[in-house]
Symmetry: C2
Subunit: 418 residues, 2 copies
């Protein structure tokens, strides 16, 4: 197969389909989504069998357990895929929404209309549910999608792609609205991320290595999600019960997610009382503490934290810890070491809460809530195509709106410029 | 001078200043803007002298007339700079605006807060007014700016930079909130567009060559403005008087601007009546018509248009022209040949107007209005840092909002994730 030629054809088909998708009305798009959801429920046994074949092959090829875990589907995860599509169908259609339409002194009326980005290229590893989530979000937001899943999930992804086609066909939408790259050749990725004329944005989902490589090589804008080195700052006016609950949930509810807290900052004025209790709770849950000298004095089990530790997303039962003088040092530390994903303050002080919200430069900033809430579903976006740690375009969980843009519209009665 | 070291220091200073700018309140920022405006009016003679020295040196170095025209300041253009700053001061402060704050079933309240992007790098040629416009927009939007003007304008840019410093100082804002690159070494641009840790976005302003080079070499997101190959489509249900007025203004009011119309499409059903009148009007204004075979039959003075002509931003007294079957062909032609800047339809038909607005994929789409309106000031943005032909992040005229981002904020009472 000539990869260059094959990918170009995919791109041209996607561009043509995107011109039809921008016209598709809401009920047509919803019909496609609900048909796909029903087909997934109907074919769950076949999907599980295809997934089992992928998992067996990956295991035989020596894939590690964490990756196998991400690859494997269950009855429950298949039901969740279908529910996700039903939720997307129930969300308001963002396309065509007109806002801020105002008359100007010249007599023209100027506003903005929300429109699809065009063609979205999605590159992902292992998780087959991305095939369905991404197809559903792109479809509802009026975009065409080119999906490039990992070779380890090819059987299941192809089975899911067939069901997506069934939904598009039932609704009378173009087959090329969602295309799955059928080759496992890595050169296909190189083409996808440089086809400026046919692809408007790339969304990579996977490990930091994959995302950095794609960001460096892409000639198309990338909505990227790098690491989540999230912080909780326990202020000297924190409510202790809230602090314990929030630190426990933020750090230990799930160790391997991007919104898990990796670093704990405690105000000096309350460190002697609160830090030992926070540490006891964490240690009782098996969490290793890597802290500053003051932490070590208060919590003897502490290992000395290196500079590197404060930069690290552990994704493990480890937390870095630092005693800080107060809000200013906490904000400064966070803005220096954080990956700008999610940070929380625990405080009862109104003014400090307001300052933390304004001055911390991260995609989600929270007061008295667990960092684990940073998630498209928890935020009410229905689903997410990823969590952006960029500042340009979409920031934080990216749902339908992140796959759209706003153009200006001008309505006149023959006005010309003076 | 060690350019790498020098630019890194600028970047570090800008990053530190941006942390202070995010905290600056509205009246402080406005005080700085108004002080700079007053200083510009006060020092207009010195600014004109500095500009004259730049113009003389550039002429001696053989700069062409068009470029000299852009470089030259007048009493009027100096007054316009000051007015621009006063307008920016009068605009609402976008920073800190919280929208969509809603309770979720978990009990947390989720919303979005508008925040500065951080550090903006601006690279421009000739026009010294960009120094002031860019400084003003970045300052009001709470960003730090690094400005890199052309070597041909260095004297005037330095004089303006001193006035900007005067305003920052008077308001108690950090001097590094606006820094002007003091070297004319081209290596400085290479550093600026790759300092990921210190610069959040690059805005290049200048010719297509400059912008393409920067886009290709930057390792930082670029808000770019490429060409403006704008279209007017005269529908078969157009009002002829409006069509004549709009085509005249769109094409001939100014020939060299990016929102000038370069291509005219006319519906076949009215071509025999309207096209000769449109062509007579254009020819009487000295515009050369390059058209399709049907245009040529109706307008004998027509030169045959090449495929290349339909792709071209002439910036001159030339218009490409094509007779099309109707709305569908017009939309298809525009989406194929346009640079996605600005397009207008002239029609009295409601349904066709709605379809044109939705389906034409350009940053500004207009009904019965001149393409010349595509401009930050005409749209009510006060000023613009450029007109984006990208779809990601800002699209169309970029004012204060395009220099900001929205982060998520979460307000809780100790909620944790179940």
């Amino acid at each position: 197969m000539d990869i260059k030629h094959y990918m170009k054809a995919l791109g041209q088909n996607a561009r043509a389909a995107s011109r039809q998708m921008v016209r598709a009305d809401t009920s047509t798009k919803n019909r496609a989504l609900l048909t796909i959801a029903a087909a997934i429920r109907r074919d769950k046994d076949a999907l599980l069998a295809a997934n089992r074949a992928d998992v067996d092959a990956a295991r035989a090829a020596g894939m590690d357990d964490a990756m196998l875990d991400r690859l494997a589907l269950s009855e429950k995860s298949i039901a969740t895929m279908a529910e996700g599509l039903e939720q997307i169908a129930s969300l308001a259609d963002p396309i065509g929404e007109i806002t801020d339409l105002k008359y100007r002194p010249s007599g023209i009326q100027v506003g903005r209309m929300r429109v699809p980005l065009g063609v979205i290229g999605i590159i992902y590893e292992a998780r087959p549910n991305v095939t369905v989530d991404a197809a559903g979000l792109c479809l509802k937001s009026g975009n065409a999608a080119i999906l490039r899943g990992g070779s380890e999930a090819i059987r299941c992804n192809q089975a899911l792609a067939a069901l997506v086609q069934e939904g598009l066909h039932a609704a009378g939408l173009p087959a090329a609205a969602v295309q799955v790259v059928e080759t496992t050749d890595r050169a296909a990725v190189g083409e996808l991320i440089t086809m400026k004329d046919y692809v408007d944005v790339i969304v990579p989902r996977g490990g930091k290595g994959l995302i950095e490589r794609i960001s460096n090589e892409a000639r198309i804008p990338v909505i990227k999600h790098l690491d989540g080195n999230c912080h909780v700052y326990v202020d000297d006016e924190a409510d202790e019960a809230k602090a314990l609950r929030i630190v426990e949930n933020s750090k230990t509810q799930r160790l391997g997610t991007c919104n898990t807290t990796e670093s704990l900052l405690v105000a000096r004025a309350v460190a002697a009382t609160m830090l030992p209790r926070l540490a006891d709770m964490l240690i009782s849950k098996g969490v290793e503490i890597r802290g500053c000298a003051e932490t070590q004095k208060l919590v003897p089990q502490t290992k000395v934290a290196t500079e590197e530790d404060y930069h690290t997303e552990f994704l493990a039962a480890i937390v870095s810890c630092k005693v800080v003088s107060g809000l200013d040092e906490a904000i400064e530390h966070i803005n220096k070491y954080s990956s700008q994903h999610t940070e929380a303050i625990v405080t009862e002080n109104y003014t400090k809460a307001r300052r933390f919200l304004r001055e911390v430069d991260s995609s989600s900033v929270m007061v008295n809530a667990s960092t684990r809430f940073a998630d498209g579903f928890e935020y009410g976006l229905g689903a997410e195509i990823g969590i952006s740690t960029d500042k340009i375009h979409a920031r934080g969980p990216v749902g339908l709106e992140g796959l759209t843009s706003q153009k200006y519209i001008v309505l006149g009665d023959g006005q010309v410029r003076a």
